[in-house]
Structure formats: structure tokens, C-alpha cells
């Protein structure tokens, strides 16, 4: 086994892609990789063949995918969808051209997005429900089962059943909540905060709080392990990985993976194994195995080329990445 201090390089297994604009998100569809770019374009890539799709008149702010299509939100106030071929479809358009900077899809094909101080949810039959909220909705995430949406806001995360008249359940905690994720088993909701922290709730009749603090920067990238027992986060000079076995991370120390003299900007767990992709603001990418902390170098540091997007394909054979300067690439994990 190689020591963690001298990671083995996988550089020759990386194929470079020139995206030529800040990569907002990367997603794998059946037809191949799609990079969502800040200048409003999608760049599709399949074994070296590239194509372009114009999605937004202005900037593209967010993207999500269920593996069948990619959905994007833009500063032209539109929500757009593309299924990997043909023309993109407009799903919604805000009459006041307010930004759509959060979109999310559920496994069953429900979609949610934000505009101004409203949240909109479209179920798998195409029915749209809207909810007005007191403060700007930021991150959105569907529960893994059932039609329920977590909404990150100022001083709370709201849990909303769009198809009922019931008022949303409010998980209160002072501060500005930015991104929100739901654990794969549905037991935990975790938000990232303006105050350089994560805050979690164990759901139940009386939700209990979990404070995860000590980050030097905002932990804006969160990723669950395939078994749902670990939550990796960015925002420090190493990936911070919290244990979610049993009652959750309260009172337990997190694992710190891949400490370097740079800030972690993106994390992404492998879909089948306890292997974490860690991207830094200096452009470096490491693959780290949680079981023995061994490290593999995917991309050496490159000034001004901080990592902004990751996506593993469904089987975990390829890792796509994108960068703030428009560089991108695909790592094909060598067999064995």
C-alpha cells in the first residue's frame, strides 16, 4: 500500500474537456456527460465527442438531474430541461425575470425551484404548487421517499408537503441556511450555513439538533456515502466527514481526509464504495479511501482552476469534474 503522503497518480487516466466557462454542475445522463456552464450553455460529452445546447439567455445558475434529463435554472427567470438529445424544453418562466438559483429533482421525477420569495414544486403528473415564504428560499431538497421538500431559509429549514394544505413544519435555528440535504434513509436533514457551519436535525416527533461547527469557510458541498452512514463536506483544508451511524454525529469527532494547504470546494462519494473525491480551490483533486486513508492524485494543483463540480457515473467507473476557469475532465478509474 502506498503511504498517504505520496499519492499514486491517476493523471494519465484523465481525459481533458475544454468547457470554456465556469462549470456550475456536472451530471451523467444515459447518453453521456453533461456540463452545465455559467454562460448559459450545456456541453455534452460522450467518449470525446462534444455538443452544445443553449439553455438560458443570460447566466445559468444551478442544475440538477435524475439521470434521465438535466434541469437548469437561470438569471433569465427560466427553468429549462434537456433529455440528452433534441431541443431543450422550457418548464417555467418567471414573469418578473427573477433569478432561479436553486432546482432539485426527486428520484420519482418531481421537480422544485425557487423565484424571489416563492418555492414551486411540480409532481410527476405535472401539477405545480407554489408556496410563498417570509424569507428567500435558498437550497431545496426532496425527501428520499414521499413528496416532501426541505427548504433552506433564514433562521430555519421548512419541510413542505406540496400536495397538502398543511402548513410547512419548521425546523428553527438562528442564522442563514444556504444548502440543504436529506439523508438517504430520510432520518436526518442537514443544512450548510452562512456562519461556516453545518446544522442537522434528527427528524421525529421532537426533532433534535446537531451542531457541526469549526469550518474556516462555508461548507457549500455535501455528499452522502453510498451506505448513508457518512456525510462528507467542503469548507476546510481537508474534507470533513461526519459519522451518521445510530443517533448521528453529536458528540463524535469527524474524519478529516486529504489535508492540504488549500480549501476543499467540492466533495463527492463514490456510488458503490467508501471512496471520496475531494476537489480543492487550487485545482487539485484527490481520491481518498475512507477505510485506510490512502490517497490517489487525479489532478495536480493549477492556479485559478478551482474545482466547482463533480459527478460519478452510475457504476462509479468514471468521475467527471469541472473548474472555475472552464477546464473540465473525466477520470476513467483503472480496473483492479
Amino acid at each position: 500500500m502506498d503511504t498517504p503522503s505520496k499519492p499514486v497518480s491517476l493523471r494519465e487516466h484523465v481525459t481533458a474537456i475544454a468547457a470554456e466557462a465556469h462549470v456550475v454542475a456536472a451530471h451523467w445522463l444515459k447518453q453521456g456527460l453533461v456540463l452545465a456552464l455559467a454562460d448559459g450553455r450545456l456541453l455534452s460529452w460522450q467518449d470525446g465527442e462534444t455538443g452544445e445546447v443553449a439553455m438560458h439567455g443570460g447566466g445559468l445558475l444551478c442544475a440538477c438531474s435524475d439521470g434521465a434529463s438535466i434541469v437548469t435554472g437561470g438569471d433569465d427567470g427560466r427553468v429549462m430541461s434537456w433529455s440528452g438529445s433534441g431541443e431543450p424544453q422550457e418548464i417555467a418562466r418567471d414573469p418578473k425575470r427573477r433569478w432561479v438559483d436553486s432546482v432539485t429533482l426527486s428520484a420519482s421525477g418531481s421537480l422544485a425551484w425557487n423565484t424571489g420569495r416563492s418555492v414551486h414544486a411540480r409532481d410527476d403528473k405535472g401539477r405545480v404548487k407554489s408556496l410563498d415564504v417570509a424569507t428567500t428560499p435558498q437550497g431545496l431538497a426532496f425527501a428520499p421517499k414521499g413528496y416532501r421538500l426541505a427548504i433552506a431559509q433564514l433562521n430555519r429549514v421548512a419541510l413542505w408537503y406540496p400536495n397538502t394544505e398543511a402548513k410547512p413544519e419548521l425546523l428553527d435555528w438562528a442564522g442563514s441556511h444556504l444548502d440543504v440535504v436529506w439523508s438517504p434513509d430520510g432520518r436526518f436533514v442537514v443544512s450548510s450555513m452562512q456562519e461556516n457551519a453545518l446544522h442537522g436535525w434528527r427528524l421525529g416527533d421532537k426533532p433534535t439538533h446537531m451542531r457541526m461547527t469549526g469550518y474556516p469557510a462555508k461548507p457549500r458541498s455535501l455528499s452522502w456515502s453510498h451506505d448513508g452512514l457518512w456525510l462528507a463536506s467542503s469548507g476546510a483544508d481537508a474534507a470533513i466527514v461526519w459519522p451518521f451511524q445510530g443517533e448521528g454525529p453529536s458528540g463524535k469527532a469527524p474524519r478529516e481526509c486529504g489535508a492540504r494547504h488549500a480549501k476543499v470546494t467540492r466533495v463527492a462519494f463514490h456510488p458503490k464504495a467508501l471512496v471520496l473525491a475531494v476537489g480543492f480551490d487550487d485545482g487539485c483533486i484527490l481520491l481518498i479511501r475512507l477505510t485506510d486513508a490512502s490517497e490517489l492524485l487525479v489532478r495536480p494543483a493549477q492556479r485559478g482552476s478551482g474545482i466547482t463540480a463533480f459527478a460519478w457515473d452510475r457504476l462509479g467507473k468514471r468521475l467527471a469534474f469541472g473548474c472555475e476557469d472552464g477546464a473540465a475532465g473525466v477520470l476513467t478509474v483503472p480496473a483492479g
Binding site: H22, V24, A38, D39, G57, G58, G59, L61, D75, D76, K96, R97, R98, W99, D101, G116, R117, T135, T136, Q138, L154, A174, G175, S176, M193, Q194, E195, A217, K218, G304, E324
Partner: protein, 320 residues
């Protein structure tokens, strides 16, 4: 470090002429591209994909600093804009007529992501020569906007007599004698007078002299919001000064709108320069004192209900 994008904050009471100024900046041929964050979408008559509508959303940071309010919407919008670096040279943030400029300014010092990518260049306040004196009586926001300004556009000067103009200027100067003041009609001020001011850049704070030269001018010191300056004709002891200024900004931060200082520390060849917004202080050693420059220590506070005698006593006690 990549170049930080300069941000100009445009404030002004309702009807003073902010939209006129904004449209002027956007239509004039000056070779610069702006991203503009406006509060009333649609008022700006320019078809520009980089005009963004914002819902002002002020919140208190959960960090124990009671006046540490920031604009959450601004953090989000700047984060989005920064993904399109290269599409614009500078950013203009227009606030509502009733807005307090402090949360906007503080956002640039409190949020690290914003501070890493952008720099606050200056607060520009548009005022109305005809109505400002009325507003100063009934609208605390109007006073705050004057107090906070680095540049003041005294607009609609054609609607008042020379005597009225002199009175309104005196009222402005009683609150803030340090801002650059431009008298205008229909905001006809050169764009270069508004941009690249570097008002918050410690390296560019050269002096803190008033913008006008009428020494011995009588101020109306009964006003609650006003400025005061203190000078020690020599060095201060940093061991005394640093704890004092920290205590003052903690205890009186909510009432101190802006502060600025250039200080000579005993035994230190370089000038110590600081500037502050409420409780947030930013200070550093700057260039050397020049051979022909008198080493002296000078402080300015602009604030509300400040005890001038007490502050003077405290500062003078820091002399080395």
C-alpha cells in the same frame, strides 16, 4: 491574487435622482461594462442582461456582534455574478431610498467569499438640493446616507437659490465634511468622479482632511448625527491605542457609522491606517512616513449621539 471586482454602492433618498444617475452611468460611452443590482426592477430603462433585481434582505450575523448586519440577497447575487467573471468590469449596487447603507458595506467585510472576489469601492449618495433639509428633519435614513457617503451628489441645484444651496451644503457638511461633494443638475457628473475611489482601500487612504477649506466655519452642533476629528501632534502608544479603539468600537459601534484614522506608532517607521464601519475595523501598517511629513496621529468619527469630550479625552490619553 486575481484582481478584485470593484463595487460602488449607490444610495439616496426617494426622488433624489438615483435612477437618473444609474441610467446615465449605463448609457454613457465610457468603455466600461457594469453589472447592476437594482432594488426596483423595471425602473432602469436599459435592456442589459446584467441588471439584477434584488429583494433587500438584511439579517444579523450569528456571531455575537450585535450591529453586524449583512445583506443576504447580495451575498447570493454576487456569488452568481462571480461565475461570469470577465463579462463586466465593475458592479453597482443600488439601494432603496429608505435603506441604511451599513448592511451593504458590512457585507463586503463580513462575508469571506464576497470579500475574496470583490472590493467595496465607495458609497455614493445622491441628495436633492430642494428637499434634503426637510428630509434631514424627518427621515433618519437620509441622515445616515449622508453620514456614510464617500461621494455626495448634491442634485437639482437649479431648483434652489444660491442662499438655499449654501444652507443645504452647510447642513451636509455638519454631518459629513469628508465626502467629495459634486453640485449637479440632472446628475450631470463625470462618471470618473464616482468610480475608482478606493475609499475603503487602506493603501489609498492618504489624508483625512475635510473636502472644503472654509476654516472657522460654524457648524450646528445640535444635530445628533455629525462628524468629529481629533489630532495628536505626534506619536501614540499602540499598547494604549489598540485596546482603546477596540473598546470604543465594541461599546459604541452601533452609533459609530464610519471611522477613519492615520496614526504614528512610537518606534514604527510606517503609518498605521484604519477604517471602520460600525464595529468592524480594518487596519494595517501602510507606507513609511515621508521625511518631510510631520508624524502625527489623527482620527475621525462620523456617528450619532457620540460624546465628543469623552472620545477626545480617551484618544489624547493614548499619546506616547
Amino acid at each position: 491574487m486575481p484582481e478584485k471586482i470593484p463595487v460602488t454602492v449607490l444610495t439616496g433618498y426617494l426622488g433624489a435622482g438615483k435612477t437618473t444617475l444609474l441610467n446615465r452611468i449605463l448609457t454613457e460611452d465610457h468603455g466600461k461594462k457594469f453589472a447592476v443590482i437594482v432594488n426596483e426592477f423595471g425602473e432602469v430603462g436599459i435592456d442589459n442582461e446584467l441588471v439584477v433585481g434584488a429583494d433587500e434582505e438584511v439579517f444579523e450575523m450569528n456571531n455575537g456582534c450585535i450591529c453586524c448586519t449583512v445583506r443576504g440577497d447580495l451575498i447570493r447575487i454576487l456569488d452568481g455574478l462571480m461565475k461570469r467573471k470577465g463579462k463586466f468590469d465593475a458592479i453597482i449596487v443600488e439601494t432603496t431610498g429608505l435603506a441604511d447603507p451599513a448592511p451593504v458595506a458590512q457585507t463586503f467585510f463580513v462575508d469571506q467569499d464576497v470579500g475574496d472576489a470583490t472590493k467595496l469601492d465607495a458609497v455614493v449618495t445622491v441628495t436633492d438640493a430642494k428637499w434634503l433639509r426637510e428630509r434631514l428633519k424627518d427621515a433618519p435614513e437620509a441622515k445616515n446616507q449622508i453620514a456614510f457617503a464617500d461621494v455626495i451628489i448634491l442634485n437639482k441645484t437649479d431648483l434652489v437659490t444660491p442662499e438655499e444651496l449654501a444652507e443645504v451644503e452647510a447642513a451636509i457638511r455638519a454631518i459629513n465634511p469628508y465626502a467629495k461633494l459634486h453640485r449637479t443638475q440632472r446628475c450631470d457628473v463625470p462618471i470618473s468622479a464616482l468610480l475608482d475611489r478606493n475609499a475603503f482601500d487602506l493603501d489609498r487612504i492618504l489624508d483625512i482632511e475635510p473636502d472644503f477649506l472654509e476654516s472657522g466655519h460654524h457648524h450646528h452642533h445640535s444635530d445628533a448625527v455629525r462628524s468629529m476629528s481629533f489630532t495628536i501632534p505626534g506619536d501614540v502608544d499602540p499598547e494604549k491605542f489598540m485596546p482603546w479603539i477596540n473598546d470604543i468600537s465594541q461599546a459604541q459601534g452601533p452609533n459609530i457609522l464610519r471611522s477613519k484614522g492615520i496614526l504614528a506608532f512610537k518606534g514604527e517607521p510606517r503609518r498605521f491606517v484604519f477604517q471602520g464601519v460600525h464595529m468592524i475595523l480594518d487596519g494595517d501598517l501602510q507606507r513609511d512616513w515621508l521625511p518631510d511629513e510631520q508624524r502625527q496621529s489623527r482620527l475621525v468619527f462620523i456617528g450619532r449621539d457620540l460624546d465628543e469630550a469623552e472620545l477626545r479625552k480617551g484618544f489624547l490619553a493614548c499619546a506616547a
